[in-house]
């Protein structure tokens, strides 16, 4: 009789694999199946009310105007908040990391504080800032002679208002990543540049930024993935309003799934979002690989 030969490595990774299979692969497969059914409140009551609908959920999703609104809102958020927050993170990292800066630890902590703060607490404070009549922001505008703006109630301003809050809340995290990236740049490069007569601007352009390129890639991808999953900000600040202007894809999925219990349809939304995120995170790597190859 031959003894089966299982490499010892398999035994070592099997706990992790089992956990991944149990808590990731199985739920993902189950929700993929779910997205092909019309699982809803009636089906919870009686399994006979469950219908296999094939790709009908996906077809209906693509026909539903609300999905396109949610997609456009999410794209708007990613396209504006993404670059702005990365730029702000970089600027903050440069300022805090500059050799001229003092009390670096203090500033780093202060700028990182919003990241560590509970979003709901942040939302409560920002809602007061944005209040049309008693808000600080409109008070400042009034001092400049500008008419008050209904930040969270006006369809034109609600998304910009959320973007401003999200950037403030999140930029500290990327700032820390950039700071770490900057610490890895050898000091002798700057020394050499200074000897060659390079000013601060050309040092930034020719040393800091190119050396930060891999960090940029990571920051861009992780920020993009995070922002595509926009949920908590509109959930607590606007509930998707006014006029659906801040309805994001995840918020739509949440409503379908956990408010209306259309689990089948919500699972279809989840898979469409998954496909979008996969494409969005694969593209930058691809571009970079091509760049590196050229």
């Amino acid at each position: 009789m031959r003894r089966s030969r299982i490499p010892p490595g398999v035994w070592f990774v099997s706990p992790a694999l089992a956990a991944i299979a149990l808590f990731f692969a199985v739920p993902v497969a189950a929700s993929l199946l779910l997205s092909l059914t019309d699982f809803d409140i009636y089906a919870i009551g009686d399994a006979a009310n469950l219908r296999f609908v094939g790709l009908a959920n996906y077809a209906q999703l693509l026909r539903e105007p609300l999905f396109w609104i949610a997609l456009a809102n999410t794209a708007y958020f990613v396209a504006v908040a993404g670059p702005l927050s990365i730029a702000l993170s970089l600027a903050a990292a440069l300022a805090v990391g500059s050799p001229l800066a003092r009390w670096k630890g203090l500033f780093r902590t202060l700028l990182f504080l919003p990241v560590a703060t509970t979003l709901v607490a942040v939302a409560v404070v920002w809602r007061f800032l944005y209040h049309p009549r008693v808000g600080l922001l409109n008070g400042a505008l009034a001092a400049l002679g500008i008419a008050p703006v209904d930040w969270l109630g006006d369809p034109r301003f609600a998304m910009p208002a959320l973007i401003a809050m999200a950037i403030w809340k999140n930029f500290g995290f990327n700032m820390v990543i950039f700071l770490a990236g900057m610490q890895a740049i050898p000091e002798r490069l700057y020394e050499a540049a200074r000897i060659d007569g390079a000013g601060a601007a050309s040092q930034l352009r020719h040393i800091t930024l190119p050396a930060l390129a891999p960090t940029f890639l990571f920051v861009a991808v992780s920020t993009g993935i995070g922002y595509l999953q926009l949920f908590a900000e509109p959930y607590v600040m606007t509930a998707g309003g006014p006029s659906d202007r801040t309805l994001s894809i995840v918020l739509m999925m949440y409503r379908e799934g956990f408010r209306w219990w259309n689990m089948g349809y919500a699972a279809a939304v989840a898979f469409v979002l998954f496909a979008i995120i996969l494409a969005a995170s694969w593209l930058p790597w691809r571009l970079r690989a091509r760049e590196a190859g050229a």
């Binding site: 919870i44 009686d46 969270l152 309003g241 006014p242 956990f258 209306w260 219990w261």
Partner: protein
């Protein structure tokens, strides 16, 4: 091996949980929000009276209650008796989670059907069965500032739509551009639906299989409602923009608003003392018939889990909480209005004209369509209202879109009804 161990321990855990919550024979009772807090005193009294019965009370926050009840149903961890928002009943009936209570109500010496408000009792009845015993009731009506009305030359609270419109116009003329006559959060569906019911709109048609929002009655009410915004009587504000309703009401930002019994307590607590007599509550105006106009049947009921082995003890708890004396005690503790009309003859309610406005309104309440899809339809309705109020859609377009959205939402219901008809 690890996987098997994991599986085993998970199974053990589930068994342990199930056993812990089920073994001691106590009646599991879930009550929601602040009601869950104040009912503790009544439950203690019940246990004194029924020495053989133990009640395990769990408080569930309102915001998580709906989800928690549904997941409990799926996970087979439902309580024996629980509080349900009256608009959730159709959903739990569709799930098959509720015990029909007709026989128990008819056999009970403590309960009499004619001692409940008819509209409220109707909200608990679906398909010829009663599924919940109304515990406390609510509905919506007008809250107003008496002093601001008098200042605008309106002596009496309007009882008809025409009178209402005139009063609103006078108030608006008086308070100027920065203030308003009425506050109607433009993404709330309750007021337009109540107005439409007053006009006689059915909302849905053909056994609730299709939307009927383009019907003349709904259309008329919808246009009346939109007119309040177009004429500047109501601000174009959503729920999110109203940071503090009661402060704004105290500041005179608006003279009327439409709300429920919870505002009675909030206004008494939050308004400055100088305004304590300046506000009142009045039933909804009518379109021409005898007042009051129709408003929505709301509140919460007590329901039993279908097939629970502790049904007898759980039912005794329901009977106990429905006693007029306990209803009054509960009213004093929570401010929730009693569901039993006999409890309303108590002096504390008779002598309170604001509570009496609710009493009058409760005689004329109607339930929204009793189908599980209603909350979702109401959400679509709110969004159509908001789009029309903002002028993004013409009224006719908004209603056409609403009808087609609602028809799509009801597709599964139509399929179920057709399949049933075939059997």
């Amino acid at each position: 091996m690890t996987a098997r161990a994991l599986g085993c321990s998970a199974a053990l855990l589930l068994l342990a949980c199930g056993a812990a919550s089920r073994s001691d024979g106590a009646v599991e009772f879930w009550a929601l929000g602040s009601e869950g807090e104040v009912v503790q005193a009544l439950v203690a009294e019940f246990e004194r009276r029924e020495p053989g019965v133990r009640v395990r009370l769990q408080q569930i926050p309102w915001s998580a209650a709906h989800e928690k009840l549904l997941t409990a149903f799926v996970g087979d961890a439902m309580p024996d008796v629980f509080q349900l928002g009256s608009t959730w009943i159709p959903e739990f009936v569709a799930l098959g989670a509720l015990e029909p209570l007709d026989a128990r109500i008819d056999a009970s010496p403590a309960l009499a059907r004619d001692d409940f408000f008819p509209g409220i009792l109707d909200a608990n009845s679906i398909g010829g069965h009663t599924w919940g015993v109304p515990w406390y009731v609510d509905t919506r009506l007008l809250f107003y500032r008496r002093d601001l009305l008098a200042g605008a030359g309106v002596g009496e609270v309007p009882r008809t739509w025409d009178g209402w419109l005139e009063a609103l116009a006078r108030v608006k003329q008086r308070v100027g551009a920065d203030r308003y006559a009425i506050l109607l959060p433009m993404n709330e569906w309750e007021v337009p639906v109540a107005l439409a019911m007053e006009r006689g709109a059915g909302l849905l048609r053909d056994r609730d299989r299709y939307g009927d929002f383009r019907a003349p009655a709904f259309r008329a009410a919808f246009e009346f409602y939109l007119g309040l915004f177009e004429r500047g009587l109501a601000p174009r504000a959503g729920v999110a923009q109203i940071a503090n309703l009661y402060q704004d009401f105290a500041a005179g930002f608006f003279t009327f608003f439409v709300s429920g019994p919870w505002s009675l307590g909030e206004l008494s607590r939050r308004l400055p003392a100088r305004l304590s007599d300046a506000w009142g509550a009045a039933p909804m105006p009518s379109t021409g018939g005898p007042p009051p106009g129709v408003s929505l049947a709301g509140g919460a009921s007590l329901a039993l889990l279908r097939g629970t082995p502790r049904a007898a003890a759980a039912w005794r708890l329901v009977e106990f909480l429905s006693e007029p004396r306990q209803q009054l005690a509960f009213y004093r503790l929570s401010g929730d209005l009693p569901a039993r009309t006999s409890a309303w003859s108590d002096g504390s309610l008779v002598g309170d004209p604001r509570a009496q406005a609710f009493r009058e309104q409760l005689e004329r309440v109607r339930a929204t369509p009793k189908i599980p899809e209603w909350e979702r339809i109401a959400d679509a309705l709110s969004r159509s209202c908001e789009a029309a109020i903002r002028g993004e859609l013409a009224p006719a377009e908004a209603l056409a879109r609403l009808d087609s959205d609602v028809d799509a939402l009801l597709a599964k219901r139509r399929w179920l009804l057709e399949r049933e008809a075939l059997r």
